[in-house]
Every structure is written in C-alpha cells, then in structure tokens.
C-alpha cells in the first residue's frame, strides 16, 4: 500500500474551455490510494469534464495531471505528469471511467461485454472458456450471480450498471471513476455496490464517486470535493460531511428552509379515474387509482416495479387490454399518445434523449412540437410568430439557460434539457401531467425549478402524477404515494403516513398480508 501523504493522482490548475463556456477554471484535486473521494456540484459545475479528462476522453487546455500509477501493479511510483490521448491509454495505466449512461452492447452476452475489445484469444479464436471463468469471478465480486452467457438485453437497468462496473474492474484499475453509478440501481443493488466499493478500497483502489444523491455520498465518501462553476469551492473531511453543508456549498445558498408541500387536493370529485390498466410488461395485473384535482401523486417503488409502465400505458403507449379511464366523470379513450394528449394528458418520459426531446433540434422547435398543429394558420401553415412567442414564454417560465431558443438541445446541460422536455407541454395546459423520473441527472437548481412547476400545475387545479426513485423527492413532493411492487400497487400512503421506512417496507414486498 502506498503511504497516504503522497497522492496517487494530483491535479493542479486544470482548465478546459469549450466554445462559449469555461467548463474548468483552475481546479485542483488530490486522490490517495485506498480512499473514496466524492466529487459533488450542480450540473455544469465541471465534474463530468474533469472526469473525462482523467479518463482520457478529453484533454486539458491548461494545468497538469500527475499520476503515480504504473501499469496494473500497485508498486509505488513517484508522481509524473501524464496526459492521456485516448481512453485506451488511460485504461492501460489503470484509470477506468464508468459513464453515467450505459455503454453496453445489448445484443451481446455479459462475458462478451466485459471483455469487449480485449477478448482473450487462442490463436485466432476467441477464448470463450477464459472469458467465462474470469467473467464469473468478476461478477461474483459485484454480487451479480448470473451466467456470463446471459444476454445483456435480458438484464434490468440496475444489473446492466453492475455489468458496467464489472467491466471497469476487469482491467485491474488503480483508479475507478464512477459517474452517478446508482441513478438506476435498486436499493439492494446500491447496497451491493457500496460493499464492492468498500472492498476495492481495502485493495488500495482509489475511487472517485460522483453523485447527486447526497445520502449516498454521506454513506460512502472519505472526503468530499465540491465544485461550482468550474472552480474548487472547498473540501469536507469524513467527519464534516453533512447533508446541509454539502448542499449549501454546492448551490452557494441555503436550502434548509425548503417549503414542504401543503396539499390542496379536493378528493370529493376525482379528476381522473383509472380502472384495470395493464401494460405489455405486466399484462396480468390491472391497476386502479384515482387522482384528485390539485393533487400530486407520487409513484414509488424499486426500479422495474412497473411505475414507468403505468405512466406510459396511461399515455397510450404499450397498453394492453381494455382499461377504463374517466376524466372529470366522462369516459375517454387514450389509445395512443395523440388521443391522450387531446384529452389533456401530458407525459414527460423517463428517457429524455430517446423520448423526451429531439436532441439534434433547437430549443424552439422542441418546445413548439406538441402545440404546432393547434397554433397553425388554417391548421396547415406554421405560425412562426406564435412559435417564437410560445418558446420564449416557456423558456422564461422555466428559466431555461440557453444562449437563445436556437441553441441545440444536446448542447444544454441535463437540467435545461429536462426543462425543455417539461416545458413543451405547458402551453397545452394539461389536465393531468405525468412525469417519469422528473429530476434524473438534473442539478439541484433545476430540480427546484421543476418542483416549483409541478407545484404550480397542481395549484391551478390540474393533477400531477410522478414516478421517482429518489426518496427525498417522493417524500417532499407527494400529497399521496402509491408504492409499486412487481407490477402492482403494494400500498397507498397518505401525507400523514409518509415516511422512508413505510415506503421501503411496501416497495420490498413487506406490506403484503401473508
């Protein structure tokens, strides 16, 4: 083991500019062997850029990176300046980066993914036996008890995340960088991941851990480095790490007096009545629930518990069977998203880039898409003036940070992308707003904007249904919570019954009478 006074990795004055933004502005970072360093900050603070530089994806404009890791082995080497030109180079020096987005080929099996590009071979043939054996070993380390020949497509998102980690481990990393590794993991999977991290720590691996989930940071980090606007804000040692201090350092303002929602829901006349709703994935279960005007209904549960399916089926996507849906007392058919939209439903989908927005398009065209037809002259010709006005007012209402509404959505930060995905529905004044993981990958500031918006939509008398894996969000925003377990509703919790324990009990199947 290396001595803890000499860092394994030292960054000084790291600076990186992109057209229009300075992503990193003289950032310093020290990383010691066998420690878990959490790097936190709002989206756009420069965390991801810094990690991409360490992982060889991008190069610095100014500043130095020094690294003491040799090849694979841990024998102490003195610090020497490095600059990785490619991911392969960084990996070969023992630095592995696990991206926030999954990078697996889901048409291949687990073993093939773990050794993709580095397949052990015997002459010209890929050595399946070695892959099997080594994959099995690594999978055990991450707590995934599956055959390496299982197709990745058959795995849950959470399992896929663990495969991604297994792949990073398979190269014998000295430094492991994890960017939001738990964003799609279930509770058990998260716990398993923490055990894996602790294990790696014992083996002397240095871990850089990036997360918006401050509870996790508190649980796992030895030290916290806080970034804001591409600069160091400060560090917290193990015993200084508290939720409030992290938040205030990140946002530079005090969020401790967050307003807790006061329900104004009127339960006497339901806005939306859903009866026997079934989805393609859970054709056997029928979901029933009501939504009151002004109510925010939270859907809680583990990943894969069927919350997304309910929201999508309600919006006319992948529904099976004959659901009865009543809106303000009259039966409506929402067989496809277009019909659903016409009846005043709107869905902000979970997968923002695939379903929520057209990333290659400017903000304006994204915002106007659902209202284009309604606003068109003669229902045929696009009314450009109304389109511009509409996009301006939506951007103002959500304070979307973009140079103009001509900026392409993929060049926006995750939070601003999400604001666009939500904002495009606002001009339709939806009667029921459905949101699936509304703040995934979204920074603290943008989260607040989205919460404020959900609140204002509900205050106007519409209903809001949202699914979330973030406990804090569910507790804070919901008037009532439906907890899902394996496709069906395991229980319902009213505002006064809400607690983390109550939700987790139901979500893990503990509430079932038996």
């Amino acid at each position: 083991m290396t001595s803890s006074d000499q860092p394994l990795l030292r960054v000084r004055g790291a600076t990186k500019r992109f057209p229009g933004v300075t992503a990193l502005d003289g950032v310093d970072l020290d990383l010691h062997a066998g420690e878990v360093l959490a790097v936190i900050g709002e989206n756009g603070a420069g965390k991801s850029t810094l990690m991409k530089i360490l992982g060889g994806v991008q190069r610095l404009d100014a500043g130095t990176v020094e690294y003491a890791g040799g090849n694979v082995s841990f024998s102490p080497v003195s610090l020497s300046p490095v600059s990785f030109n490619s991911v392969q180079e960084a990996v070969s020096r023992g630095i592995s980066l696990i991206h926030q987005e999954l990078n697996l080929s889901d048409n291949l099996d687990i073993g093939a993914n773990i050794f993709l590009g580095r397949e052990p071979h015997r002459f010209w043939w890929i050595d399946r036996a070695t892959i099997e054996a080594r994959s099995r070993e690594i999978l055990t380390r991450v707590g995934l008890h599956l055959s390496p020949s299982t197709l990745v497509a058959e795995l849950s998102i959470g399992m896929q995340q663990l495969v991604e980690i297994a792949r990073a481990l398979s190269v014998d990393a000295n430094v492991l960088i994890m960017d939001e590794p738990t964003s799609s993991l279930t509770l058990t999977e998260t716990e398993r991941l923490f055990e894996v991290v602790a294990d790696l720590k014992r083996q002397g691996v240095a871990v850089i851990y990036i997360s918006h989930r401050l509870g996790e940071v508190k649980a796992i980090a030895d030290r916290v480095l806080v970034l804001r606007d591409g600069q160091n804000v400060g560090e917290l040692a193990r015993d200084e790490i508290t939720h409030d201090r992290m938040v205030s350092m990140m946002v530079g303002r005090d969020l401790s007096n967050l307003r807790v929602r006061k329900s104004r829901a009127e339960h006497d006349r339901p806005l939306l009545k859903v009866r026997s709703l079934s989805s393609e994935r859970f054709p056997e279960t029928a979901i029933d629930f009501d939504l009151a005007p002004g109510e925010i209904l939270g859907l809680a549960g583990l990943v894969g518990a069927g919350r997304t399916e309910v929201l999508e089926a309600l919006f006319g996507i992948r529904r099976v069977g004959h659901a009865r849906i009543e809106l303000e007392g009259s039966a409506v058919t929402c067989g496809d998203p277009r019909q659903a939209m016409r009846h005043g439903l709107a869905l902000v989908p979970e997968d923002r880039k695939q379903h929520g927005v057209i990333t290659e398009w400017p903000v304006r065209e994204n915002l106007s898409l659902p209202v284009l037809w309604r606003d068109a002259r003669g229902r045929v010709f696009i009314d450009r003036r109304r389109e511009i006005e509409g996009s301006q007012s939506a951007m103002d209402r959500l304070s979307v940070k973009a140079s103009s509404d001509r900026q392409l959505v993929h060049s926006l930060s995750g939070g601003n992308q999400q604001k666009v995905a939500v904002g495009k529905w606002l001009d339709l004044d939806p009667r029921v707003l459905l949101l699936d993981e509304p703040t995934r990958g979204v920074d603290v500031g943008a989260k607040e904007e989205i919460y404020r918006l959900m609140d204002s939509v509900a205050s106007s008398g519409a209903g809001v249904v949202f699914a979330s894996s973030e406990m804090e969000e569910v507790l804070r925003m919901s008037d009532r919570v439906l907890v899902f377990h394996q496709g069906s509703i395991a229980g319902e919790l009213n505002a006064d019954e809400l607690s983390e324990e109550a939700i987790m009990t139901l979500a893990t199947g503990g509430g079932e009478p038996s």
Binding site: F315, I317, Q354, E365
Partner: protein, 328 residues
C-alpha cells in the same frame, strides 16, 4: 443553406468546366435539353426526398415510373379518354404510395423490404398487363405530350423554357413550402430525426409517414407519365428501371441524410441538375460512353466529400467565433 452552397458549387464547377472545354455546351438548344432532363429527374428526386426525410427509403420509384409511363399509352390505346386515363394513373400511383405507407407504419415492415418488393411487383405487373409490348402514342396526342416536349419561348434567344421545367418550378415551390412551412413538414422532420420522441409528443406519426410515401409515389407516377410523353415509345421492361437510384442520388447530393430528418428541396433539384450536367458533359465532350458511370460515380463521391469538408470547416469557424465572443 450551407448544404445547398456546397452542391451548387459543384454544379457551377462542372458547368463552367464543360463550357470552357466545349463552348457548344452553352448553346440554347443544349441548355434547353439539359433543363428538360433535369426537371424530369428532379421530380422523382423531390418525391424520394420526402420519404428519405421521414427516415425511410423508396426503391420502387423506377418501377412506378414504368407502371404509369406504360399505363398511359396503354389505356389511351384501349379507347379511354385523356381525363379518365390521367385520373386512373393518378389513382394507381396514390394506391401504390398508400400501400407502401400502410405496410411500413401499421405492419411495421422495413421500408427497404416493402419498396424492394414493390420494385419487383410493379415491374412484373406492367410487363404482364402490356404483354411486354412497346407502348407509344404514335403521332397522336401531340398536345398532351407537349407537357413534356413543349417549350415556351422567352423572346430574345433560341433558348426556350421547356414545359417540364415549369412543372418542376411549381412542384419545387409547393414541396419547399410543404417541407419548411407546414405542420406536415415539421412533423416529417421530427419523425425522421427521432420517431419515438415524435410519438411521445403526440404526433400522428403513422399518417405523416403514409403521406410521405403517397407523395413519393405520386411524383414518381407523374415523372413516369412525363418521361413517356417525352420519349413517345416506352418499353414495359425497361422504362424507368434504376431511376430510383438517380432519384436517391439527387436527394442525397442535395443534402438529404439517409438517416432521416433533414433535407432541402432546392438542394435536390440542384442535385438532379448535377447528375444531368454530368451525363450531358460526357456526351458533349465525347468521353467514351463506357466511362459514363465511372465519371458520374467519381464526381458524386468528390462532391459529397467536398460538401462534408466545407460543412466541417464552417462548423469549426462558427464554434471558434462563438468561443472568441464568449471570452470577451
């Protein structure tokens, strides 16, 4: 616009180079021919571009050209009235597009497969219906045929504006407005870019895609009729065969991405012009006909490469300018 500049530059280059090599190239008569052929092929290209923007492909264009091109003289010779014939042919083209669209959207079949089968089916159908006989108008229907062969004098030179060019101008304006100014056009681009996002945004994706295939087949049908008018005698086995490739090449040269979501109508017209100028140049310069395809292939490839380089250069310039602006 940048897209169009690159292809327009290529057109200008080939045009000027040929004109310098042989001044006869710029005679009124030749320009008139050039414009007529360009118009006929551009009509097919515009049709193809709608389908390509939607993210699909139509390989049946050439066979639809053959189908309608042979049906017109065939029906006329069977004694059907001109109006009835044109109506029937329009109906056939419409039905073809509708079937393609329905198969692609409702049955979720791949456009490549659907239209490849169409390519084979319509060719076989017309060969059977016509008994593989050459179809022609003889010396009749001169008035009707002048839609393709006629021309309008402009007064001061021997150059006359060919009738198909006037048809093309109308189609180009309508198509450009349709693609850029209407809800349909915007929906089409959205679907081509990201069909899922379009669906999740409540767009009538199926109807829009069907519309694109119908437009494509209608324009292919119109092109087929005009080609037949122009040539007077058409062979059911060969009329229009491979024209889908010219149409697709024109669309791609004109800035349509085969990945869908983008396209420029005026670019497609210029793309078709590049193809025709090349053909014309090869003959006028006396380059051996055997080299024809080789020359066209290499020039298109060069055009696409230059286009890509120009686009990258412009993007880099813009980013640099933004960066400089941001630092100030």
């Amino acid at each position: 616009m940048i897209k169009v500049v690159g292809i327009f530059g290529l057109l200008l280059f080939v045009f000027v180079a040929t004109a310098i090599a042989d001044p006869k190239f710029v005679t009124g008569y030749n320009l008139q021919n050039l414009l007529r052929w360009t118009s006929l092929f551009a009509i097919l290209g515009i049709g193809a571009s709608f389908v390509i923007v939607s993210g699909g492909i139509d390989l049946s264009i050439g066979s639809v050209v053959g189908l309608t091109g042979c049906l017109v003289p065939l029906l006329l010779s069977k004694g059907m009235s001109v109006g009835g014939t044109l109506l029937a042919v329009t109906g056939v083209a419409l039905a073809v597009g509708l079937i393609h669209g329905l198969l692609v959207t409702k049955l979720r079949l791949q456009p490549f497969v659907v239209t490849l089968c169409g390519l084979l089916f319509y060719r076989g159908l017309i060969r059977y219906i016509s008994g593989d006989q050459v179809q022609g108008f003889g010396s009749e229907y001169r008035g009707l045929r002048s839609l393709a062969t006629g021309s309008v004098p402009i007064g001061f030179s021997e150059f006359q504006i060919p009738a198909p060019f006037i048809i093309l101008v109308v189609i180009t304006v309508v198509a450009a407005v349709l693609l850029n100014r209407t809800v349909f056009g915007r929906y089409l681009k959205a679907i081509g870019r990201n069909e899922q996002a379009a669906r999740y945004s409540g767009l009538p994706t199926d109807r829009v895609v069907i519309g694109a295939y119908v437009l494509c087949s209608l324009l292919a049908g119109l092109g087929g009729v005009l080609f037949a008018f122009d040539m007077n005698s058409v062979q059911p086995s060969g009329h229009g065969s491979f024209y889908e490739l010219y149409a697709i090449a024109a669309a791609v040269l004109g800035g349509c991405s085969l990945r869908g979501g983008e396209g420029s109508i005026i670019g497609v017209v210029i793309g078709a012009a590049v193809l025709r100028v090349l053909y014309n140049a090869i003959n006028v310069l006396g380059i051996p006909t055997q080299l024809e395809f080789a020359v066209i292939g290499i020039v298109i490839l060069a055009g696409v490469i230059v286009d890509e380089l120009v686009r990258r250069w412009v993007t880099r310039r813009r980013l640099l300018r933004q960066a400089r602006g941001a630092r100030r």
